[in-house]
Amino acid sequence: MSFAKYLGIRIFNALLVLIFVTFVVSILFVKVAEDDAKTRIAEIINNEARNPSLIRLKANDPEAFEKWKRNRMEQLKREFELDKTFWERVISKTKNTLLLDFGNARSPVFGEIKVSKIIEKAIPRTVLLFTTAQIIITFIGLILGIKAAQKAGKAVDKLLSVLAMLTASLPMWWVGMVFILIFAFQLGLFPASSLPDPNLEGFAYYRDLIWRMLLPLATVVFVSFGGWAYTTRNIMITTMHEDFITVARAKGVPENRVIYGHALRAASPPIVTNVIIGLLGSLGGAIITEAVFNWPGMGRLYWVALQQSEVNLLMGVTYVTVALFLASMIIADVIYGYLDPRVRVGR
């Protein structure tokens, strides 16, 4: 099986999963939206009935008022698509969602009302925060992990294992809350809210953005680097036990070249995959961490959608997150295949 064919099958599989998930989620969504729409129709009619001319109509000719009410109800039902059958709505919702048409939010978020526009604004911010964090974590993790692997069983190594275990048991979002408490409230070094100031422009805007990004960034790095370093250490130790390393040492290759040239190159496929999987994992933890910091990304959108029961927005962010997740899995596969040619053939 050629690599292109393999990739094609992977993408096809991912699309199938995406369509199926969207379909199932649409069923849930339509059920929720139905109750939602019913209460809103009642609200709209009640509001309109307060109109003085309608109050007069109600007093003079109750029958005509009832007729107006029925007509208006029918009209609104059509507007909210309640006149269609359940499955028709599910199918159309699935289709619209797959084509990135999520409808409108009830009240504007980030100054936009269209859900797809809101998400368009949020994604780059999430990517900015977590990609930066992942790069820092990868570097710190590599340096610490290689050090620990070199001195396996010594104090540095043991300290790293303990650190990894401790930080792995901390919920990232809670660490965020504690960081706000310490650095924003107690020491006053950073702002508690990471929402950038929209009035600034140019250089000042970017400086403000970076300043506000530091605290969430520090949180993500603090929680993740220990576990990541531990993973790197384990991968490195396995590689260091292989024969070609012994051969390299035996023929007198300098130790640094052995580690960075031979061992790291051989260990890179699992390390790279783990970096990508780490990024995927952070998408999950990120949802709440962003909410804690008011960082205006995807996680914040989840929080807003849940707090204000914005059903369309929730559907939109879930769909986009699932799609991104599936896409990153494929990218991880492609990179693995590039770095380790063995996996390209069959599996």
Binding site: L166, A168, W174, M177, V178, Q186, N234, T318, V322
Partner: protein
């Protein structure tokens, strides 16, 4: 497996476990956590879960830090204290007159926020028959203030000294005359509205009594005189005086006045039971799924593996959030467990399958089959016992994941609103702006508790893994 074998392997296991320092620490932590969960009704009071989500905490101070901060700060804050009738001196003067004395030792820079008197029980039905109450405060400097005079009381009377209008007027007038401060009328109205009655009551009489009262330390006596028309018309056995503190208990209170210590203790129950239930269920399902897939093989294996891959390719939290939102934020604990199990078994099933595939091909399985053993016997007698060690360590390692995900869902407001959980406490803290207001006693303990549960199971799981899967020990 015979009973002797089981005994033997248990002995071996215990012998090896003694050399796992981390495992022992994890085990000790777990024992502590479990006993906290079991004895929660005795450590705090048994009605906490019932009262938690309801507004029964009015008598507690709001957002009060824990009492022990007094050891670390130069400014001593009055703790929360409740005086029952046993703590007071009651004198019966005869003729329906009773005098209750409450002795309060003030050694704090910041006096109590409020004093709440309640629990009068009168049988008088006629308004004119209702008992009268007069409250006099005797201060350590010899001054006496009449806080309240001849107030008619009934069974539902609750007197809040700090906000009561009569008391406020009396205290203001007393402070004005004794200190001799000259005030113009505009200032007077403003001061009267803004003054902190308690700080003046417990403050030194000087020119600054209105602006910045200096605390007067010493013994304060509240004398409550109750005159009733008849001896039987008042029953004071439930009478209490609550000195609402600036600090409260071991862990302080939240914005509704709830005792955070009680929440922490009771939260252990939910956290442990959800965590353990999810871990055991999902690992068992995963093992059975994986073994079945490997044992049956062929198209069944293919089908089960496709489904497994499908589940594996879903991001867990977003889907859980959506499902939680579908239940409209009223997900009870059983539903949470089921939701977490729904995604928890996937990874275990993969590993169990690959382990079972190896075991299945070994000669002793072949021998068993040649001897005529059925599928059930091979799976449960030969394959399962070999996978169980892995399953046990996985159970321990899955608990932190379950506990954290449960907390995360609760934090998003998708938990069980009637249960006392740590995630719920942090959700309330976030909504009340606890971080930006510096209520550290509300933010730090629940998270540490989550981390503690996680840590004890990680330690235990790693130790089990090392003992039960010796292949991993080289790493």
């Amino acid at each position: 497996m015979r009973l002797e074998d089981l005994k033997e392997s248990a002995k071996d296991f215990l012998h090896e476990f003694r050399y796992q320092k981390g495992g022992i620490i994890g085990f000790v932590l777990l024992v502590i956590l479990v006993s906290v969960a079991v004895f929660a009704p005795y450590i705090t009071s048994p009605d906490v879960p019932e009262r938690w989500s309801k507004e029964f905490w009015v008598e507690n101070p709001q957002n009060a830090p824990p009492t022990w901060i007094n050891y670390f700060s130069s400014e001593k804050l009055a703790p929360h204290e409740v005086y029952t009738i046993e703590d007071m001196q009651v004198e019966d003067m005869g003729g329906g007159r009773k005098i209750i004395k409450i002795v309060y030792m003030n050694s704090y820079d910041s006096p109590p926020k409020d004093i709440v008197l309640k629990g009068f029980e009168t049988t008088a039905s006629d308004v004119r028959q209702k008992p009268k109450m007069t409250i006099i405060l005797k201060r350590p400097d010899g001054n006496e203030i009449v806080l309240m005079k001849d107030r008619r009381i009934s069974s539902n009377t609750v007197i809040q000294i700090a906000t009561n209008t009569e008391v406020k007027n009396n205290v203001f007038n007393w402070a004005k005359t004794t200190s001799g401060v000259q005030l113009n009328p505009v200032e007077e109205i403003k001061l009267q509205a803004l003054m902190d009655t308690m700080k003046i009551l417990f403050g030194k009489v000087d020119k600054k009594i209105f602006e910045s009262p200096v605390p007067l330390l010493g013994e304060y006596v509240f004398e409550i005189q109750i005159t009733s028309s008849d001896d039987d018309t008042i029953n004071l056995s439930n009478f209490t005086a609550v000195f609402s503190g600036r600090t409260y208990g071991l862990m302080g209170t939240d914005s509704k006045g709830r005792d955070i210590w009680a929440g922490l203790i009771w939260g252990t129950r939910v956290s442990l039971s959800v965590g353990i239930a999810v871990a055991v269920l999902s690992v068992l399902i995963g093992v059975v799924y994986g073994v079945a897939s490997a044992y049956f093989g062929g198209w069944r294996d293919e089908l089960l593996q496709r489904f497994n891959e499908f589940m594996f390719s879903l991001p867990v939290l977003p889907i859980l959030i959506l499902l939680g939102a579908y239940f409209k934020g009223h997900v009870d604990l059983v539903q949470i467990v089921l939701l977490l199990v729904l995604f928890g078994w996937v990874g275990v099933a993969k590993v169990a399958r690959s382990m079972a595939l190896q075991i299945k091909e070994q000669t002793f399985v072949e021998a068993a089959r040649a001897l005529g053993a059925g599928s059930g016997r091979i799976v449960f007698k030969h394959i399962m016992p070999q996978i169980m060690p892995y399953a046990f360590s996985q159970m321990a390692l899955s608990v932190p994941y379950a506990v954290m995900t449960e907390a995360a869902l609760s934090f998003l407001g998708l938990g069980d609103p009637t249960a006392v959980t740590w995630g719920q406490m942090l959700y309330d803290a976030q909504n009340a702006g606890a971080t930006i207001n510096g209520y550290w006693w509300w933010v730090i303990p629940p998270g540490l508790a989550i981390a503690l549960v996680g840590l004890s199971f990680v330690l235990l799981g790693v130790a089990l893994d090392r003992i039960l899967n010796p292949r991993m020990r080289t790493l």
